[in-house]
């Protein structure tokens, strides 16, 4: 018996003295920033996917030709530009000192290949390419883009920070065929990707790229000098959101990108923590109907559903804290140049359920069940369907709320079949405001029907005509006027139901400072004190 007893003692020892033995490991040499991002990085190709986390990953290790400052104005980043007086020729000149992570210099040829790949994937890029005559590297540092017909959106598209941003990659990487994802993660951005330490679903590690030469201007949005002030950034995935806050409070991590709003009081009560909104535009949440099948193939019934819903309830359930949401009935989002609430007043004030009920019976609703898809595993998409289902039932809809995981929903919503046979009537999601803020990028306004339109598949020639009118309109005022018409028409047709805008609140430890406000969470400029 004796040896086993001593063995037990030896096993117990570390447990018993665990607390005493623990000493915070001093890492004076290396400064690491630990961040919990809003979701886990699954796909590493920022061109091939529109996922926001992959876009954020892109800004860590890649750079863009031009960027968008905090006022949403295009600004030079890798390159300066010149536009010919007729607006048909754009010349981009790469600045000095640009280098890939493997030490090779960045050339214009690399950038042309990257732009071409980007344009194949990005909706806006595809649109642009229809107007482009040629895109060539005229010398090692010069890229020339020549338009065939007027297109006023070149700079905003190349500068846009939303998915898909035009990240620059070495030519060999940019030549990856369509449909295939890149496997070489060489960029020229301020951080390098540490592939050896990449643990998908758990941890992504970036190291400061010593060879990066920042621009001299101060950082602003994704523009300006990307000065890295830490040695390492680790993105940690924490599936349990409460654990993340506890970890922030105990100093295990430094930054949470997206705080569950209901837990804000915990952060606010802790003197060592700071919270704030880093992206002032935020997200728009909303519902999208299936235009192919009853009942929502009837515009009156769509309108009745719109009348039945009210943003206050949805946002209460989704966000809870009025400080961080705003009622917004604009299909382009609020705080954007094209904002307009026309036609959506009922969404933001008053109870219109009587109206909705009247319209519903007038439209001859026959009790066809409304199949609503609910993704239960995505916290930012779970509450809307529940609130909407209750509201629709209240005005007389028959509702079949179907809970499922997000992946199933993604597959279900692509199903053009009947709602009773694997199809659907209504689903909810949210969009980064920059992905809906004008008729060019907003997917819900596409009237291309079963072939071309986004899930829901409206066939709407009038809407497409309006969008064309918008692209060809020149000058802000003219564009704004067309946008106003689109807004009104979209509300009539219920292209989608805007359910309000909200901000993601981030939280960080007080020894972290100089976080940049902007459309994307970026880690340059961020300072971490000991």
């Amino acid at each position: 018996m004796k040896p086993s007893r001593s063995l037990i003692a030896r096993l117990l020892l570390p447990l018993g003295f665990a607390a005493a033995l623990h000493a915070p490991h001093a890492l004076a040499a290396e400064k690491t920033l630990h961040a919990v991002m809003s979701s886990s990085l699954r796909v590493l190709d920022p061109i091939a996917t529109t996922a926001q986390i992959t876009r954020n990953h892109g800004f860590m290790i890649y750079d863009t030709l031009i960027a968008m400052d905090e006022h949403y104005q295009p600004a030079p980043q890798m390159a300066d530009w010149a536009i010919s007086p007729d607006g048909m020729v754009y010349t981009f000149t790469l600045r000095d000192g640009l280098m890939w992570h493997d030490g090779k210099p960045v050339t214009a040829t690399d950038c042309v290949a990257s732009l071409q790949r980007w344009a194949r994937y990005d909706v806006g890029g595809q649109l642009m390419m229809k107007s482009v005559k040629s895109l060539v590297a005229t010398d090692a540092k010069t890229i020339t883009l020549t338009l065939a017909k007027p297109f006023g959106y070149v700079l905003p598209l190349l500068a846009k920070p939303s998915s898909v941003a035009a990240f620059m990659m070495p030519e060999r990487v940019a030549n990856t065929p369509m449909g295939q994802m890149i496997t070489d993660y060489t960029g020229s951005g301020p951080f390098t990707f540490v592939a050896a330490e990449f643990d998908p679903g758990n941890r992504v590690v970036y190291e400061k790229f010593a060879g990066y030469v920042p621009r001299p201007e101060p950082a602003s949005g994704t523009a300006g000098g990307k000065v890295v002030k830490v040695d390492r950034v680790e993105w940690i995935n924490m599936p349990d959101r409460m654990t993340a806050i506890n970890a922030l409070a105990s100093g295990d991590i430094d930054f949470i990108e997206q705080l569950p709003m209901d837990l804000l009081p915990m952060v606010q009560a802790d003197g060592t923590l700071t919270s704030g909104v880093l992206s002032d535009l935020g997200n728009m949440t909303g519902g999208r109907m299936n235009f192919l099948y009853p009942p929502f193939n009837n515009p009156d019934i769509r309108r009745a559903a719109l009348l039945a819903l009210n943003q206050q309830d949805v946002l209460q359930a989704l966000v809870g804290n009025p400080e961080y949401y705003r009622l917004c009935a604009s299909v382009f989002g609020c705080g954007t140049p094209l904002e307009s609430q026309t036609g959506g007043e009922n969404l933001v004030k008053g109870d219109h359920s009587a109206e909705a009920r009247a319209l519903l019976s007038k439209a001859g609703y026959d009790g066809t069940p409304v199949v609503i898809l609910q993704a239960t595993d995505v916290p930012s998409q779970a509450p809307q369907p529940v609130v909407a289902a209750a509201a629709l039932r209240k005005v007389g809809f028959t509702v079949d709320l179907q809970p499922m995981d997000w992946q199933t929903l993604v597959t279900r919503r692509a199903n053009q079949g009947e709602p009773t046979k694997g199809g659907w009537n209504l689903f909810f999601t949210y969009w980064n405001v920059q992905t809906i803020w004008n008729p060019v990028v907003n997917p819900m306004l596409d009237g291309g029907g079963q072939k071309g339109a986004w899930f829901g598949w409206p066939t709407d020639a009038h809407m497409d005509a309006l969008r064309n009118e918008f692209v060809q309109a020149s000058g802000d005022a003219a564009q704004k006027a067309v946008a106003e018409k689109i807004q009104q028409y979209a509300m009539q047709q219920v292209s989608y139901i805007p359910l309000g805008q909200y901000h993601d609140v981030s939280a960080w430890n007080s020894h972290v400072s100089h976080l940049l406000k902007g459309p994307s969470t970026v880690f340059w400029n961020v300072q971490k004190d000991d």
Partner: protein, 313 residues
């Protein structure tokens, strides 16, 4: 013994093939499209089709299965659809945390549960017995995440004795390792402690009525020697079975505990993979867990022979 081992391992192969096929079909017949995750929200149908074609997901099911099996035969576990990382290396990264957690939790279970069970059996019907048994019923009546949150609130947030989350490798030092693993291991062990204590008690009660226990007492042995040397050694087999299958369960991942304490283990890997429909990862994990299950069962069976000389294979 060796022949037995080889025979059992060979017999496990069809079982694992059946499992692999079953899981493969289950996955592919369930809705979900990895291409949609890769392409993101705004991907066009052509993009999705291109991605599918590229990943080979457009091929007939049986072709996909045999391609996977063929690669497997060559030692290739294939790569994650999402992250393009080898499945084997992904599993490798997650193995240590899971293994550490499982080992510590199992050790904790054995150290606490077995003496408690012995005590309860020895004083059968006494208040001690009732207390041990009631507490152990509670142990597996509370959902594990409630236990996890409760322990965190008490030990980490109120008393500040232990950290709220995280994992440190034992190679970074025993102190930090134990410091981080204590709460998750306790959480994980709680239900198993309950189970093993009950099994110990039941198994010991069976044995305590045996003639050789009477013989041992008639020899004038003390109660401790009777209980531990004579009774427990004979009661060991069912206890070992419960401990072993508990361990196998822990190895296949304990997603709830791993989530609550943010431990990058296999459980999270597989649940993430299921939710993302990352088929090669799921298939690799199933293969691994069913292999571990078979192996641990085999080890348990072989350890019977060590704890009981009557058993020969």
């Amino acid at each position: 013994m060796f022949a037995y081992f080889v025979r059992r391992v060979l017999a496990a192969i069809p079982v694992m093939l059946v499992v692999a096929l079953f899981v493969f079909l289950l996955l592919r017949l369930s809705p979900g499209d990895p291409a949609a995750i890769i392409g993101g929200d705004m991907a066009s149908p052509e993009q999705l089709a291109a991605i599918r074609q590229n990943l080979g997901l457009d091929r007939p099911l049986h072709v996909q299965f045999f391609v996977w099996l063929w690669q497997l035969l060559h030692g290739d576990f294939s790569t994650s659809l999402m992250a393009h990382t080898g499945v084997l290396s992904m599993i490798g990264q997650r193995l240590e945390p899971t293994l550490s957690l499982a080992l510590v939790a199992t050790a904790l279970t054995v150290l606490v549960a077995v003496p408690l069970g012995v005590l309860a059996a020895w004083r059968r019907g006494s208040w001690l017995d009732h207390t041990v048994m009631s507490v152990s019923v509670l142990g597996f009546s509370v959902p594990v995440f409630v236990i996890g949150y409760g322990l965190t609130t008490l030990f980490a947030l109120q008393l500040h004795w232990l950290p709220v989350q995280g994992f440190k490798s034992i190679f970074d030092g025993v102190g930090p390792f134990a410091y981080r693993i204590a709460l998750p291991a306790l959480t994980l062990a709680s239900a198993h402690i309950a189970l093993v204590a009950r099994m110990t008690r039941a198994s010991l009660l069976d044995v305590l009525g045996e003639d050789y226990i009477r013989t041992a007492r008639a020899k004038g042995l003390g109660e401790l020697a009777v209980l531990f040397r004579h009774a427990l050694r004979n009661a060991w087999v069912p206890i070992l079975t419960v401990i072993g299958s508990g361990f196998a369960l822990m190895i296949s991942g304990v997603v709830v505990t791993e989530s609550v304490f943010n431990i990058p283990g296999l459980g999270r890997l597989i649940v993430d993979a299921v939710l993302a429909r990352d088929y090669p990862v799921i298939q690799g994990m199933i293969l691994l867990t069913s292999g571990v299950y078979v192996l641990i069962n085999l080890l348990i069976d072989m350890s019977y022979a060590i704890s009981d000389p009557r058993i020969r294979y």
